[in-house]
């Protein structure tokens, strides 16, 4: 089968590959690039275990072809922490016991990040709707919702501190 050369940015680094046109993005990430934090839980886009960000937008990577990500910016769970410093969502999932087996967790964190990118202060109902394309079989979602609330508050507080510092610097 013919292959296509693609080049994309994955977690800030440029990655290239020659891929079959039918190769799924999730298989590119996992099997070609070795980024196994993104998981596969179904064949029908229902479970969201494969959720990543493509071009800044949440996407189910089992329902995208690798060639569709050519030239785009892709972020996976491996790109969330800044070295040893966890992303506020990662810390909050840990603090609030928002995970058990951990299999849905990377997709759930990526989706939660997208939910908070759209609305930094979502209601509980908005959080629940926002993650309704991601299935978790272990937690019953209660602590996932709490974790997203904790992270939202921390991200807002950090943004306010930054804004305050900027105002102080400008003043």
């Amino acid at each position: 089968m013919s292959t296509h050369h693609i080049s994309l940015t994955v977690n800030g680094a440029i990655r290239e590959a020659d891929v079959e046109p039918r190769l799924l993005l999730v298989h590119l990430l996992r099997d070609v690039f070795g980024l196994t934090g993104t998981h596969i839980g179904c064949d029908t886009s229902n479970c969201g275990a494969c959720t990543v960000h493509v071009g800044g937008v949440s996407a189910k990577s089992c329902t995208m072809l690798a060639v569709q990500a050519d030239g785009l910016d892709v972020r996976t769970i491996e790109g969330m922490a800044d070295g040893a410093a966890l992303h506020p969502l990662q810390q909050a999932f840990w603090d609030q016991h928002g995970l058990q087996c951990g299999f849905c967790t990377p997709g759930m964190i990526m989706q939660a990040a997208w939910v908070l990118a759209k609305d930094p202060d979502p209601s509980e109902a908005a959080i629940r709707e926002g993650i309704s394309g991601n299935l978790c079989r272990c937690t019953g979602y209660v602590n996932i919702v709490k974790a997203i609330q904790q992270a939202a508050a921390e991200i807002r507080a950090a943004a306010e501190t930054q804004t305050g510092a900027a105002v102080a610097a400008a003043g």
Binding site: G37, D43, Q100, R137
Partner: protein
């Protein structure tokens, strides 16, 4: 943002982190970074891929398999058929229930999506191409879907391979209790209520499917099997037995089963599926590592399935509102092969715990297992062997009986509960309940939810024509299989091992035979060691899942980890403490009897300043031990539980029903659980949340159903509806704590309580909303369509 958790008062400091502390989970460090190590993350050099050709028919004769086109597909290395396996005697495998199951068929397929052939190729995609190119010629045969029709004398015999005298579809008959006493008690009862309940076939659908990487090393004659197993040691032994039966040179000491992180188990990763055996066979044939990863459709169509019990139950009630007797007759649909994971002597599991939380003298329970053209049935769905089916039946019957005699269902339960002073309590089917206080749990649930106010609100709404229901379930679980005198699986006693080594610097390594699938064993087992020895939990490394290093154990299911393996850990720790006492006596130049153990150190009675900490003692175990003593500080224990543990709880659910659509909305759900002493209250809370959601799922959404041709109607997540965050209510929880009198930690296990208790609470709430309209019972899942139809028939919808 902090959450407070209920538990017994801890006896250790937060720094030590023994029992009762909400210690954050050790394993999460890797999971939140996407650095977990699940089966599909394993890739070995030279690895081949296995994919499976599956039957579109539920029952058909295979007239021929043509692999010539498949073999032309680039990358395809081999196609394995049943005929090929037959030459090695590997086309059938024994099941843990004492039946046989096809690995691949040689002539007949028995259910839709059954494995028909395996394609081995150099990549995931090439293997799938190969599967698409295999041509199979089928001749459809009559399909048996209905288990009642399967019992007809005229039904086709589905398993002609069984011996003489077994040429029918009846697998086994099992009964418990006293039939004549039960009949007499029922005849003497003022009120008798009867109901037929179907507990539908469902699937655990853990978000990670099943899979393995089989790695046969021909040079050293060694097999390494990386797999998703809840019971790696049992798998190793079964593989060794199968290999010996087939004359293959793979003895048990040359088999290493490794289970890495598991993305959810819930019972679905206990059985041996043909895919695992095929991968082993393929690795043996090709000399290369072979990976098999099931996709979701295969998972929902061809694994083993839970429940599928057709129950007829009758209860008697006296003039005083006391239950007198319970009679139950059940048909169990086990599909084409009896591959259930039940203890050998208990083909219906612990189903005869069906007398539940109530004190009455007479019960009789019968179950008949039946073959149909469906995948194997009888594995768990997050519940101890058949307890969910039992609890659903008794809790529905109790509600029907209360309503029939015009008594509030809470009052009826209070009147009939086993009293706290009756424990240990011998049930009419022979179980000895270890401890409980059922009145306290229900009272607490009623207080938390405001029961009396809700009943008033319901009366007002009913007067206005609105549909609101309140449902109670007061369940008793039976977990921790099990005492060796009665419990084994394929002859293996259901004990579990723990091996504890304390290093010279006071740090420790604990290895256990149970297998986490998300329960947090790396965190909680360290807390048990901390509790018993005062070694900080953060200084205890917990290992499991590698049969070359972990002590033998039957694995994690049936809420048995804490009751069995947790107890083994406590006893191993106490053995270490016994040796530590001798070392302390040597160091302190005191008699052993003069020493007392408090807060992680031995001190001389009356002279608390003369003491040695466990850390000092550990160092002495390697540097300064008395003559005649062996060096080191370690111990092993295999725990044989003297009895089951009996977690219990009372759940109350409030629903509102939309008259226009039949939609059931759960407004509130309060769960009061009693799992005895608590190791980690945060994890207990999480287990209950998850269990409740897996109780909600079959109550309202999930069912694997089949049409008359045996076609699976829920074979993807488009049709098999797992609850999302939208459907799942914000669970409210409460606790009572009644320690188990026989478990060394007073703990009972909790993983499955909520899955067992939630469905009848929800079903009872829906029926409660509709009882005044003449609705007595609705089988789960209670879909909007079922409710709408009932309302429509009554001119309401």
């Amino acid at each position: 943002m902090t959450t407070t958790y209920e538990a017994q008062a801890p006896t250790t400091t937060p720094e030590v982190g023994g029992m009762g502390h909400a210690r954050k989970r050790v394993e999460d460090a890797r999971f939140i970074r996407g650095a977990g190590h699940y089966i599909d993350d394993i890739n070995l050099p030279g690895q081949l891929w296995l994919d499976i050709v599956r039957s579109p028919y539920a029952h058909a004769r295979i007239k021929g398999i043509d692999d010539s086109e498949a073999m032309k597909v680039p990358g395809v290395a081999a196609v394995i058929t049943g005929k090929a396996l037959e030459t090695y005697g590997l086309h059938w495998m024994p099941t843990i229930a004492g039946d046989n199951q096809m690995v691949l068929p040689t002539d007949t397929v028995m259910f839709q999506s059954q494995e028909v052939a395996a394609v081995i190729a150099t990549s995931r995609y090439a293997a799938a191409d190969g599967v698409a190119a295999v041509m199979v010629d089928y001749e459809p045969l009559p399909v048996v879907v209905d288990p009642y029709k399967a019992m007809d004398a005229s039904a086709p015999v589905l398993r002609p391979d069984r011996g003489e005298g077994k040429q029918n579809n009846h697998i086994w008959h099992w009964e418990s209790g006293d039939r004549s006493a039960t009949d007499a008690a029922l005849a003497a009862s003022k009120t008798r209520v009867k109901e037929h309940l179907y507990i539908p076939r469902i699937h655990v659908a853990s978000i990670e499917t099943c899979g393995c990487v089989a790695d046969w090393d021909a040079v050293n004659g060694h097999l390494t099997l990386h797999m998703t197993s809840q019971a790696p040691h049992a798998i190793r032994t079964v593989l060794a037995i199968v290999a010996a039966g087939a004359g293959l040179p793979i003895p048990e000491h040359k088999i290493r089963v490794i289970t890495h992180d598991i993305g959810g188990g819930f019972g679905g990763k206990v059985p041996v599926y043909p895919g695992y055996v095929l991968a082993v066979a393929a690795s043996f044939l090709t000399g290369k590592p072979v990976k098999w990863i099931e996709d979701r459709a295969e998972n929902l169509q061809a694994d083993s399935f839970a429940r599928d019990y057709h129950i007829d139950a009758e209860m008697g009630v006296s003039a005083e509102g006391r239950i007198t007797a319970l009679k139950v007759k059940t048909l169990a649909d086990h599909g084409a092969f009896d591959s259930q994971a039940a203890p050998s002597k208990f083909p219906a599991g612990l189903f005869n715990v069906i007398t539940g939380s109530y004190d009455f003298a007479s019960a009789h329970v019968e179950v008949d297992g039946v073959y149909t053209n469906k995948p194997p049935g009888g594995v768990a769905y997050r519940c101890s062997f058949r307890v969910t089916e039992a609890v659903h039946a008794i809790e529905r019957l109790v509600d029907i009986a209360a309503n029939e005699i015009g008594m509030d269902p809470a009052e009826f339960r209070m009147r009939n509960f086993i009293r706290a002073d009756q424990f240990p309590y011998r049930s009419p089917t022979g179980w000895e309940y270890d401890s409980g206080d059922y009145h306290a749990a229900l009272r607490k649930a009623m207080d938390l939810i405001g029961y009396d106010d809700l009943r008033r609100e319901q009366a007002e709404k009913r007067a206005r024509g609105e549909l609101m229901g309140i449902g109670i379930a007061s369940f008793t679980e039976i977990v921790g299989a099990g005492p060796s005198h009665d419990f084994d699986i394929i002859g293996l006693k259901m004990n579990d091992g723990a091996e504890l080594r304390v290093h010279p610097t006071g740090k420790a390594l604990l290895r256990i035979g149970s297998q986490t699938q998300g329960q947090g064993h790396e965190t909680t087992y360290a807390q048990i060691v901390a509790e018993e020895l005062g070694i900080p939990a953060s200084d205890v490394k917990v290992e499991y899942g590698d049969t070359d290093t972990a002590p033998y154990g039957l694995g994690t299911y049936g809420s048995r980890s804490t009751p069995v393996s947790g107890a083994a850990t406590a006893i191993a720790s106490r053995k270490v403490r016994d040796k530590a006492r001798k070392l302390a006596a040597h160091l302190l130049e005191a008699a052993e009897d003069d020493l007392e153990w408090t807060n992680g150190k031995f001190s001389v009675k009356g002279s608390p300043d003369r003491s040695k900490t466990i850390g000092e003692i550990a160092f002495a175990a390697y540097t300064n031990y008395p003559a005649g003593m062996e060096m080191g500080l370690e111990a092993v224990d295999y725990y044989d539980p003297p009895n089951f543990t009996y977690p219990f709880g009372s759940y109350i659910c409030v629903v509102d029903i939309d008259k226009g659509t039949g939609q059931v909305k759960i407004r509130r759900f309060v769960a009061v659980d009693d799992c005895g002493n608590i190791i980690n209250p945060m994890i207990v809370e999480g287990q209950i949340h998850g269990g409740l959601t897996m109780g909600l799922a079959p109550a309202l959404y999930e069912e694997i159903s089949y049409d008359e041709n045996g076609n699976n109607l829920a074979g993807t997540f488009m049709d098999y509806l797992l609850p999302t965050a939208m459907e799942t209510p914000a669970w409210e929880t409460g606790k009572t704590i009644t320690p188990s009198p026989h478990h060394p930690l007073g703990a009972k296990g909790v993983g499955e309580s909520a899955t067992v208790g939630a469905p009848p609470a929800i079903a009872n709430a829906v029926v409660d909303a509709l009882w005044h309209l003449g609705v007595r019972h609705i089988d789960i899942p209670i879909t909007p369509q079922k409710v709408w139809r009932l309302l429509h028939e009554r001119g309401i919808a």
